[in-house]
Amino acid sequence: MRITTTRSAQRRLGRMLIALLAVFALIAAACGSDDDGDGAAPATTAAADSGGDGDDMADDDDGMAGDDGDGMADDDDGHDQDDDDGDGMADDDMAAGPDACNGGANVGGTLIIGSTQVPRHLNGTVQSGYATAVPGTQLNASPLLYDDEYNPMPYLAESWDVADDGLSVTLHLVEDAVFHDGMPITSADVAFSIQTVQANHPFKPMYAPVTSVDTPDEHTAVINLSQPHPAILLAMSPGLLPIIPKHIFDDGQDMPTHPRNTENFVGSGPFRLAEYEPGTIIRMERFDDFFIEGTPCLDEIVMEITPDSTAIVLSLENGTTHLSSTLGPAANVLRLMDNPDVEVTSQGHEAIGQINWLEFNLADPALSDVRVRQAIGYAIDRQFLSEVIEQGLTFPVPTGIAAASPFHNADVNHYDKDIDRAKQLLAEAGYGEGELELTIDYIPPAFVVHAEYVVQALEEAGINVELSVSPDFPTWAQRVSGGDYQMTINQVWNWGDPVIGVHRTYLCDNRVGVIWTNNTGYCNPDVDALLAAAGQELDPVARAGLYAEFQEIVADEVPIFFLNTPSFWQAYNPSVMNPPTNNIWGQMSPMHQVWLDE
């Protein structure tokens, strides 16, 4: 008896300790992270995280256009915002004039970037996503830069010509550019980089029409195309075509797993890799022989990686982090906006074009009826979702091409909230009050807010909706890509050109069972024809017309109900001058002109 008593007393003590610990852990966790990431267990990624920042997308390589290449085949291509041959734009903005780094007065300093994004490696020719692109664009230069209005600007290419028939692009490279190991950057490296991207990058349509790259001399590269491909210039953006050294990488090894993607990294960009601890820190030092005179201004860029966006917010507030775009939920952004010591802006990153939408499985008997889908559209109040629930940090969007894109068509059916209309459409489709029951999935951590709102909104129209939760991202992706769902909240990125980020969702033959391809089962030959034509149209006005018509059809047939576009928020310390807010790629662009006023 005595023994029993002691033992159960111990047990009781132990239990109480565990209980207390668990309570403390709960409280501590509540204070801290909004992203359990790699902590205790893989499944903790399912931790609810209201309104994240699209982390899922950003560092996911098989994500985004991922693997959709097969489906997209070669029938598409991109756009050319500034149509003409863009010739002779050499040396205006981007080349450092006498004004660079505050007239040379402010050279030096260390810029600290906070990020939750863990890159797989640093070689952007084979790895898509934000996590790789931010450090990758500091370490490697690309042929072109972009300003904040989709205009290409010279970078490694001091000028370029697009042939009149659109079937070739000639790049004229700067002559004195060298890699971090001192070897010159030549047209052979450009050709090698393009071929590497073509063979390995998940965004297959970017370079699918490229047939060959000629190198008539060391500083001239001619890209030959099988068809007009207006997206080709955007595809030479910093994040999409880093120029990598052929003499290092052309050794027959598998590119995605090449050791030099992280070790002894030799790049072409304004900063060279000094220290790399996966998932912890990326330290990049000024490259003194960078080809743009007088830059970079900074001595160092240090990326501090933490899974916890709350920690980033706090370190922005106390000034130990200079710059971040992974700020976590809306409340964090609003909190930073109230802080006079931190600048918050949605400028920059326009090309990403994130769109949150409600996607229907058209194979479902109820949802195959267009009237049901339209009724759902009339029941949802985008304005309320964006302005009240998301507190103005997102803005409503009625179509699948983001509002910042030159191809956005706002003049489509907006489905302004109209409950009577919704009920009438449901009645026509044969569903009375409360007779239609549906389920809604969502990308686990971040999108529960949108799903919960849709449940409430549809309840008002007499549709009963249950949340269907997936424990983690891969489970959700598998269910949605496998057609095992009725409705889901999704977020898909435009990636600058519709050819890269938009076509994949609608083409009949892109239903390939991979997430972020055609997951709805939508198929309209007219839409396919419009997209095919738009992908080859070199005249931007005509191209915009084709996309406008495409957007009208999609709005009427509602295979997807578009909700809103989250702004891509950046917060930075006021001492950061020339912050990456002045270009469509934001931090996925070199920061050689950023300087610190401290």
Binding site: T4, R11, R15, M16, C31, A43, G51
Partner: protein, 319 residues
């Protein structure tokens, strides 16, 4: 020998020729030959000791309050915890329709705390019931029969005991759709080994005592002896553990929901904390109130368990 145990033992010892069943029967407790306490019934004595423990009484009061809140609350305060009632993230006290403020979707936190209690307590009760059924069955069989059956069942128990409980529960919930049933099931499956081992220990201790042997001698079947003779005498430590299991189950449910493995269609305290924690810096109320609810519920179960433990402890008797 303890009073709690003594009851059956005395009865059996005094009635060697009486029919076995009398041994542990309710009727037996008042039987002749009591050495101690004369007419004082052990149950009443336990209650007296329990009532003397102020912390335990506070636990009971707290628990009754919480149960009243979850049962009667929705009738008095009829906001649906899932409805959007006001501007999101409004602080407590600012609105008539949401006294404790609103969460990120504009739902009423007070309604959530009231409504979430039903889920948390139901899941805890179902899980505890499951733990008791599995744990007592396995522990009783192992302890009573011993031998190879004991070894086999205890190895089986250890298999469950060495798995990290929360991780195992997460795996189970992830395998099925998260719902109140699967969550209760998962908690039940991971939490029973403790009860099984306590039951086994009690049965091992009791099975060879005289009154049990007496019952066997008069021809009672094993099933009858387990049920009527041994089990009632093994109850006190089990009752204590069961109360603690309730607290553990609530924490488990909260932990699972917090990690995003709760049933998203049913408001629970853990789910509220999990969903709102991203807004903790700006909207403390959306996590603090459900957190306090969990805290007080678990605390009340712990206090009650503690009090029962002391009340059943013979060493404290007569003080």
């Amino acid at each position: 020998m303890s009073d709690a145990m003594g009851r059956g033992e005395m009865a059996a010892a005094d009635l060697p020729v009486a029919p076995g069943p009398v041994a542990g029967d309710e009727g037996g407790s008042g039987g002749p030959g009591q050495q101690n306490a004369g007419a004082v019934r052990p149950g009443r004595e336990t209650l007296r000791l329990f009532m003397r423990n102020k912390a335990a009484v506070a636990g009971v009061v707290m628990l009754v309050g919480i149960i009243f809140m979850t049962v009667a609350g929705p009738r008095i305060y009829d906001n649906d915890p899932k409805d959007i009632v006001a501007i999101p993230l409004t602080g407590p006290g600012e609105l008539e329709e949401a006294r404790l403020g609103t969460d990120y979707l504009g739902r009423d936190v007070l309604a959530g705390v009231i409504g979430g209690g039903t889920t948390s307590l139901t899941v805890a009760a179902m899980a505890a019931a499951m733990v008791l059924v599995i744990g007592i069955s396995i522990g009783a069989l192992a302890g009573y029969y011993g031998g190879w059956l004991d070894s086999a069942l205890m190895r089986f128990t250890e298999f469950f005991q060495v798995l990290p409980a929360l991780l195992f529960a997460m795996v189970l919930v992830a395998l099925f759709e998260p719902s109140m049933w699967t969550i209760s099931f998962a908690i039940g499956v991971v939490a029973w080994p403790g009860i099984a081992r306590i039951t086994r220990a009690e049965f091992l201790r009791l099975r060879n005592l005289e009154f049990v042997r007496a019952a066997r001698a008069v021809g009672a079947t094993d099933w009858r002896i387990i049920r009527k003779v041994v089990f009632p005498n093994a109850l006190p430590p089990l009752i204590v553990s069961a109360t603690l299991i309730m607290g553990t189950a609530i924490l488990f449910e909260a932990g699972l929901a917090f990690l995003g493995l709760g049933d998203p269609n049913t408001t629970s305290w853990g789910l509220m904390i999990g969903l709102n924690r991203g807004n903790f810096l700006t909207a403390w109320w959306s996590v603090t109130f459900p957190g306090l609810a969990i805290f007080f519920t678990v605390l009340s179960f712990s206090l009650i368990g503690d009090g029962l433990q002391d009340a059943y402890n013979p060493k404290l008797r007569g003080r």
